[in-house]
């Protein structure tokens, strides 16, 4: 089981309030991603759940049990760190076995579990190496191995992929998702990368300055952002925003349209602009278009779209794809 409940959890470092008071429920077996810009408190929140930081006030419950004051080891959680945090003086085998040794399991049981974890993570041939002799991806797998042998009620991941190169990051992302499907254990995953959040999460928690901006499924956040912050943070490339006279026809203070929801034409449309930089990704092209009164607008078009720098184009938002916001930045629905 791995239900985690936060009730008015507050964290201050001296006079600085990092987390002003968060309520959150994480269901058993969910893959929850905390996402937000750096400094938004997402790692602190994870460390509060882990018990590596003391909660200033509020209550943390795991499976209904109050663990607010409990030591990290007593919470039944396992954590994978950004730096992997492997024990450099121990072999891979001993790294994975460490939590079991601490739990005073007998050697036979330890060996069995380590072998099984190594098999799942493709580490069987590396068991006698030291972490220093492994590649980044392998180290990350050892860190995961060390976490899974404990059979925790939930896994905590603190930006586990940010030290890996782009290709490996993609692979590891899949591996972690696959692991979640196999184990069906609650996972809490912290990242600043909204692509990771969108692709892996059952539920995304968007954080900003210690506050939860919105909680929902990836597509929920994508289609129905609660406010300008979430609208701008989720989705890549970023949503385009316009205010003033552009928003008036929609009865809003400001409006937002995603790059993929702009129709492009060389003949006619709602807005006229001049093509600036075009980023060709092969499958898609991102056009950065200068529009008077708005500035730079990004549009996503198919792979081949025959315009070049300086050409004039027309943009029209797709029907029903315009997000409207009031003067406080909250969505109007």
């Amino acid at each position: 089981m791995g239900n985690i409940t936060l009730k008015k959890v507050n964290k201050s470092f001296g006079a600085t309030q990092v987390i002003p008071g968060i309520d959150l429920t994480i269901e058993d077996g969910e893959f929850v991603v905390f996402v937000g810009p750096s400094g938004c408190g997402k790692s602190t929140l994870l460390r509060l759940i882990a018990g590596l930081e003391d909660t200033t006030s509020g209550r943390i419950e795991i499976d209904g049990r109050d663990v607010t004051g409990a030591a990290p080891a007593k919470r039944g959680l396992a954590m994978v760190f950004q730096s992997y945090a492997l024990y450099p003086h121990m072999s891979v085998r001993n790294n994975i076995a460490f939590p079991l040794k601490m739990a005073k399991l007998d050697q036979g049981a330890i060996d069995k579990k380590v072998t099984e974890a190594a098999r799942v993570l493709n580490l069987t041939n590396y068991l006698d190496r030291r972490p220093g002799q492994l590649s980044g991806g392998q180290r990350q797998r050892v860190a995961i191995g060390r976490a899974i042998v404990r059979e925790p009620s939930a896994f905590l991941f603190d930006e586990p992929l940010s030290n890996l190169d782009a290709a490996l990051r993609g692979t590891m992302r899949l591996e972690i998702s696959e692991l979640h499907h196999q184990l069906k254990t609650t996972m809490i995953y912290v990242t600043h990368d909204q692509v990771e959040a969108m692709t892996m999460a059952d539920k995304i928690v968007v954080l900003n300055a210690g506050n939860i901006e919105q909680v929902g499924s990836p597509l929920d956040l994508y289609h129905r952002p609660d406010n300008i912050f979430v609208a701008g943070f989720i989705g890549s490339p970023r949503m385009n925003f316009a205010t003033g006279e552009f928003a008036k026809p929609y009865n809003a203070h400001s409006i937002g349209v995603r790059p993929e929801h702009l129709k492009l034409s060389t003949e006619s449309g709602a807005l006229r602009g001049t093509v600036g930089v075009a980023e060709h990704l092969g499958s898609d092209t991102f056009l950065h278009i200068h529009v008077d009164g708005i500035g730079l607008v990004t549009a996503r078009v198919g792979g081949e779209f025959g315009v070049s720098h300086g050409d004039q184009v027309f943009l029209t938002p797709e029907e029903g794809r315009v997000h409207r916001f009031d003067d406080k930045g909250l969505a109007i629905r």
């Binding site: 396992a78 954590m79 024990y87 939590p99």
Partner: protein, 274 residues
Amino acid sequence: MARAVSTRRTVVFTIVAWIIALVIFFPILYTIITSFKSETEAIQGFNLIPSGTIESYGAVQAQSNYFKFFLNSVVLSVGSTILALLIAVPSAWSMAFAPTNKTKDILMWMLSTKMMPAVAVLVPFYLMFRDFGLLDTRTGLMVMLTMINLPIVIWMLYTYFREIPGEILEAARMDGASLWGEIVYVLTPMAVPGIASTMLLNIILAWNEAFWTIRLTTTNAAPLTAFIASFSSPQGLFWAKLSAASTLAIAPILIMGWFSQKQLVRGLTFGAVK
């Protein structure tokens, strides 16, 4: 051209370095040379070539039992080092990984105790040792040496521990290690090079400590420093015997230092160069 200049510079620097090293080492070298002279030779003035007699060594051993002093030196330096480490490892742990806003002050305060002249507290310590029956005991002296060197040991370990990423200790905590487990299974093995060089340095410092070891002992707990001192007697100076005693006293630590110089240099320059 540039190559010729740099070669010449290397040669000059090497010569200068050798000269400086020789100047520093010369007193020790001359002590060793003198120890192989007869007493008459020794007072005859400057002479680098000894006759090679070992009569001083024989006389020294006959006059006082070298091995007893040697054993005391070993027990005191090793014992006080172990004692210091037992206190310093947890202290440095708390300062490196759980610092408060007073940690820096405490570190400075500890270091400041080394700035005080030892003679300033000689009388109170002597009286305390007398009242507790610790005069001329190994236990008393071991405690004394531990106290003297503790600030340096804590400082050195603190510097090493600071280099260990806190996340690894947090990982151990998540993995269910108790505080003790964290220190024993993770921190200490990772800090072994640092702890080893701290240990070596502390053994050397304790071995060479002469102020307290001479003043708080007479016979039973007297280490090699007292052994040397006993040869600068009021009946007149016996240079050759004194030199032989000194050579015997420093030889063990010199040999140990020679074999562990790599550790020591690494330890002393640790953290200085990234």
